[in-house]
């Protein structure tokens, strides 16, 4: 009886949140999936066209380029942000003034708005007054100067440093708290056994925080699949779709060319891709776990 009552209490307490979540997440997702079957400009009649929007997406080379760019972003995040943050966390987890300063410096981009980050890097890469080209000039490397954001072949790679730079701080904090959670006895035991340095890192520290690393990787994947703001500010997906991501592709189709139905179909496709990726990573993680036990 008491258990039933407290369960009812929990349900009542949860209800508002569930209600809100349903209203603002599930309903729009289903609504948007529904619009994906229509040819609709936002104004006037919507015409039912079945799966034509999806067929067009699959035929559209811009979609495949956006997907490829998104994969580049995911890889850069997972193999750029996570190892870098881990290395920094190991190096900076003591607390003298230099390390405190460096920690704050690495974390700083996290408190900046993406718009500010985009603007800073845009001026960093600026073709006429940019620091980067100026630096290359003064080092006598003028031949290395490039149109960083303007050249179709390299623009997407120019976006990776700001992407990595702006999120390293987050993972640094996560890893640092994981490192601090390692009980002192383990360090003492390691000392008695004479394990230190790189060996201690590989055999003791890393295995203990392995779960945190896994969580960080999942956060990283889902975060970089959603990327939009940085690219929208720095290149708007251009030049000529060279830096288009799935999210900017969706935004441009919906709000620049006013094809709401087509845009909705892209949103649904993005959702399916995300579910697929997250499902796969969950499955991989679970499989590893069941192997261990």
């Amino acid at each position: 009886m008491n258990a039933l009552r407290s369960r009812r209490f929990i349900l009542t307490g949860l209800a508002p949140a569930v209600l809100l979540y349903t209203l603002f997440v599930f309903v729009p997702v289903i609504w948007s999936a529904y619009y994906g079957f229509f040819n609709w400009s936002g104004i006037g009649e919507a015409k039912y066209i079945g799966l034509d929007n999806y067929a067009e997406i699959l035929r559209d080379p811009v979609f495949w380029r956006a997907l490829k760019n998104n994969v580049i972003f995911v890889l850069a995040s997972v193999f750029g942000q996570v190892p870098l943050a881990l290395a920094l966390a190991v190096l900076l987890h003591k607390s003298n003034w230099l390390q405190r300063f460096l920690r704050s410096a690495v974390f700083l981009p996290m408190v900046l708005s993406t718009v500010v980050i985009g603007m800073i890097w845009q001026y960093f890469y600026h073709p006429q007054i940019g620091i980067l080209n100026f630096l290359l000039d003064s080092l006598g490397l003028s031949s290395w100067k490039l149109d960083w954001l303007s050249d179709r072949d390299i623009a997407i790679y120019s976006l990776l440093p700001p992407l990595i730079w702006s999120y390293v701080g987050l993972y640094l904090i996560i890893f640092m708290s994981a490192l601090q959670n390692i009980p002192g006895e383990i360090h003492d035991a390691a000392k008695i056994d004479g394990v230190s340095g790189a060996r201690k890192l590989a055999t003791i520290t890393l295995p203990i925080i392995k779960n945190t690393v896994q969580v960080a990787v999942i956060l990283c994947i889902s975060g970089s699949l959603k990327s939009f703001d940085l690219v929208y500010i720095m290149t708007k997906g251009g030049p000529a779709h060279a830096t288009e991501l799935l999210a900017t592709y969706m935004y441009n189709s919906t709000f620049t060319t006013y094809r709401y139905g087509f845009g909705s179909a892209i949103s649904t496709t993005i959702m399916l891709i995300s579910l697929l990726l997250i499902g796969t990573s969950q499955w991989l993680a679970n499989r590893n776990k069941s192997k261990q036990t």
């Binding site: 209490f9 936002g42 845009q122 050249d151 030049p239 779709h241 709000f255």
Partner: protein, 441 residues
Amino acid sequence: MKKGIAFKGLAFMVMAAMLALLLAGCGGNETSGNGDKTEKVSITIWHNWTGQDAKAVAMRKIIEDFRTENPAIEVIDEGLPTDGLRTRLRTVAAADEMPDLFVMWPDAMTKEFVKGNLLQPIDEELNANSEWKNNFIPNALDGYTVDGKIYSVPMNLAPSSFIYYNDALFKEHNVKVPETWAEMETAVQTFKDKGIIPIVLGNKTNWVAQSTIFSTLADRITGTDWFLKAVEQDGAKFTDPEFIEALTKLQELGEKGAFQDGFNSIDETQMMQLYFQGKAAMVINGGWALANLVNNAPPEVLDQTHITILPAIEGGKGDPETTAGVVGTGLGVSKKLTGSKKEAAMKLFYEMAGPEGQQATLNSSTLVSYKLDLDKEKAHPLFVELYELMQHVKITPVYDSKLGSATVEVVNNGLQELLTGGKAEDIASKIQNAQATAVGN
């Protein structure tokens, strides 16, 4: 048992508190509207006069004056930057929640809004005041006319393509202001050799090259008739040799180094800044750039700046005495307006787009589509130059005003591709496909 009631009561209270918080958040602005019992008519207007340029300031002043003169009318105005306004209008159009009055664009946008049954015609007001109606320049109302009904009037005139050039640099390096394409190429070469940017371009927001350069350049080669036919997909295609020639011409200009490095990563504002700094000999931009120039350029650049149109192209089918452009934005009147609200809205409409509004616009260094004489004593000399240039230069269509929004996006991206080494034929066929699909729908 008693404990149970208390528990239930607590659960209810928690839920009630949460709901109350939720509702308080949602319903914040409803109470303020109802309390007012006076017979105030309130109208909403959305516009893009947010900047500090003379035009925006003048238009905001008209709204302010209207408020003081009509205390019984409450005007709720909302200013948005141009790109934001376009998107926002589309969004409220989808939800059928248009503001009472809003700045809208002629041709494509007007047609779509009429098709969506969102606008009401203003023929009645126009016919009641024939002096107003007849003073617009020829064809000025065409972009706002759908099926014989007029839905708005232009509040300005927006030629989209002029060469603003720094005469001091031309004189210093002994270059002739280009009147033919060959002279243009010579000028580009000379300036490039001297380390001066020949033509500064900021094409990050990708309409710039299309609207300011390509629309006129293409018209010089293909002629206006061809373009209008290609838009309708009736007897002309974007894969025709003349269009490919136009694309190639622009690409050649780019390959000769006419534009500075990294033109795809700076925007129109930064483009104008480079010109203001005296680093560029020319900038190609619309008539709207003049107000910005007059307000923001340093005197040593401003005093040396003059205006001309794109040079003629030998063998082209277009009239060289033209420039691309549109009659400017007008005010859309929401379908839902009736009675005293409509009366109030039309009053404001007339203040802004009637003779006095047009005069105020002209006085703010902005061209109008309305027959008015310019007070040459008061106007800035550069604006007088523009005004006189426009007395003999005709307007041809801008690509983005005639083509559907999906095709425009393909053209804009295509030009970015073209200027970074894309193949003209491929880009032409992409544009052709997009327009064929758009017309087919």
